[in-house]
């Protein structure tokens, strides 16, 4: 399926996605009504929670950072018509990269260098977790959707084993490593602002956000301005055409999955180097799956992904506010909204096309298509 070629682009890329989003919110509102609360009050609580309170915007952008990484990861694979559901596992294993680098080097090497190495570690470990399914798809014909789902579970088991038995801080109960040394990590924006003489509210927003924006620009350049990006998009449009054009399909698939996994792995720098300062169980918290919704909504374009990430960042941060304001609605409401967005913006993305096409032809048909 693809976008309609009857209606102009501003309708198919602009209006229809917005209508789908609107439908998802309407259905969410119905659920809130069903529970017996006022949906408009819920929206206002969420908007206040996401943007109004001191530090709220920082929190929103901190979540946004995660979604940019996972959204780009899913989007790159989509460009090659690969469905990478494994962002969650790749981010998790990326965390292992960060953790191992920090635990091995942080006592001996200067913090700045350890941080750089740890960032590389997150990308490389995430990439490895993407390369294996990529290889199996390219060379052995295993369906990438199934393999990446399986790899999420394998990653979860692996991380629990390592955190409980191997790299846990000796003498403590909860499965997490010791704190990284004090010079290691990505500085938080409010601390940075203080050095510059600005006073902004505390939040976990850190330099990873800047990394995410830079990576977004790099993503755009890679996909639309390089030979490799052209090959990826050709492969996505038609594998047969790509083969006739002399594109090496297997190696392109493997490289795409490597980069995709590496992008997902970067979630670990925001979470571990920017906030927690140690490796801990379950830090990925479903961000990898949200990345799928983000890529779908953002239409696989970095700018769209930024906007979608911002929306989900606001939903996540605003959702935590629901816990405080309502007795019967909690942040899990956001999961429900997320599911509806994936349904309407993803699976039912083209449901409204015939409707809009008919309406468009009715009003403009005489001029354009007669």
């Amino acid at each position: 399926m693809s976008d309609s070629n009857i209606i102009p682009k501003w309708l198919s890329v602009g209006l229809i996605p917005l209508m789908n989003l609107f439908l998802a919110f309407c259905v969410s509102g119905l659920f809130i009504l069903f529970i017996g609360e006022n949906p408009f009050r819920a929206i206002s609580v969420m908007i206040k929670g996401a943007f109004y309170y001191p530090g709220a915007i920082g929190y929103t952008l901190y979540y946004t950072t995660n979604f940019i990484f996972t959204g780009l990861a899913v989007a790159l694979a989509f460009h090659a018509r690969l469905f990478n559901i494994g962002g969650e596992g790749q981010a998790y294993v990326g965390g292992l990269g960060v953790g191992l680098v920090c635990l091995v080097f942080d006592q001996h090497v200067v913090g700045f260098l350890v941080t750089i190495l740890a960032i590389l570690g997150s990308v490389i470990f995430g990439a490895i977790w993407g390369i294996i399914p990529g290889y199996l798809q390219a060379k052995r014909g295993s369906h990438i959707v199934i393999t990446t789902i399986m790899f999420n579970f394998i990653a979860a088991a692996l991380m629990v084993y390592l955190l409980v038995n191997v790299i846990i801080e000796p003498g403590q109960m909860s499965p997490e490593t010791r704190d990284f040394a004090s010079g290691v990590g990505l500085v938080q924006i409010h601390i940075l602002a203080k050095y510059l003489g600005l006073d902004i509210a505390m939040s976990p927003l850190n330099l990873s956000f800047i990394v995410a924006l830079t990576v977004s620009v790099g993503f755009w350049f890679l996909v639309w301005r390089t030979k490799f990006g052209y090959e990826v998009r050709s492969l996505g449009h038609s594998e047969t055409a790509a083969i006739y054009a002399g594109i090496k399909v297997s190696s392109t698939i493997i490289i795409v999955m490597a980069i995709s996994g590496g992008l997902a792995g970067l979630v670990a720098i925001n979470e571990l180097l920017g906030v927690h300062n140690k490796l801990l169980l379950g830090f990925t918290a479903g961000y990898g799956f949200t990345g799928i919704a983000v890529a779908l909504m953002g239409r696989n374009h970095p700018f769209g992904i930024f906007l979608a990430s911002l929306l989900f960042g606001a939903l996540y941060q605003g959702g935590t506010e629901l816990d405080f304001e309502f007795s019967s609605i909690t942040r899990e409401m956001v999961l429900l909204i997320q599911g509806l967005i994936i349904l309407f913006s993803g699976a039912l993305a083209y449901m409204l096309n015939p409707l809009v096409e008919r309406a468009y032809l009715k009003y403009y048909g005489n001029y354009s298509s007669a």
């Binding site: 559901i85 014909g141 579970f153 084993y161 909690t330 909204i337 349904l343 993803g346």
Partner: protein
Amino acid sequence: MPESFQLIISLLDSTIRIATPLIFCAMAGIFSERSGIIDIGLEGKMLLSAFVAATATFLTGSPILGLFAAILASCGASFIHGFACITNRGDQVISGLAINILASGLTITLGIALFSRGGQTPPLASEQRFMPIEFPFLDEMSYVPVLGDLFVEVISGHNILVYLSVLAVFFTYYVIFKTRFGLRLRAVGEKPEAVDTAGISVIKLRYQSILIAGMLCGLAGAYLSIAHGAGFGREMSAGKGYIALAAMIFGKWNPIPTLFACLLFGFLEALGVRLEGVELMWIGEVPVQVMQALPYVLTVVLLAGFIGKARAPGAIGVPYSKEG
């Protein structure tokens, strides 16, 4: 009874308990995928129906009504899946994923709103559940060595849904391989154009298949919350839908091999729990996570063609349109 025999008996017993929801879901997967519709929404349908089963049973006091409500809810989710990817020809993986996330959010949200117990439903009394059924002649059988113990400990004493899951396997086998509907269902998953040319509606057939899948997932969910368990707990399906998916692939989309894959995966989990903290000869302690990861690792290895080749139905994942 010698101790090792006792151990095997109790392992087999828990294998059956663990495998039951896997069997229902894997059979559901076979119906759906054999007709050409990828179903990664097994997990979500099971979770949703577990919640609905517990809620309806608590409100009405009748597990039978709970079971029907669960089947209805699961079929509702199947219908959404069908509306998205059969009627609107949307992406089947995305639609399944949406159902999983939706079920996750919906069950917790509604659970908290209805019962204010952090997402759990109130515990059910035993008369509100499907309780174990004791077979006749248990006393007489217990004098027979080995077979008698197997009968008393492993075969007897499960709830009705466990026995129903075995029936579901034969039902699936019979419908898919021995009926006209099954022949058409398999054809529609391999070459929908051919079925269409024969004047049979592809859309109707696919809807029928996924609704049967919905019913089977409903049974799996009800098993979790009103038969095996006594109430719903958040995220109680805990990835079982995905293990069932793996078992279906492991069984190469065939009911009987899939049954054995479910039993194998159930056995691995039971063994993993049993081996926790036990030192084995030559190997040492086996981490429970190894057992947890094994079904997924085995499936990946199988899919990669290292042990036989798993071939999916030909037209799987491709939306059908008459214009081609």
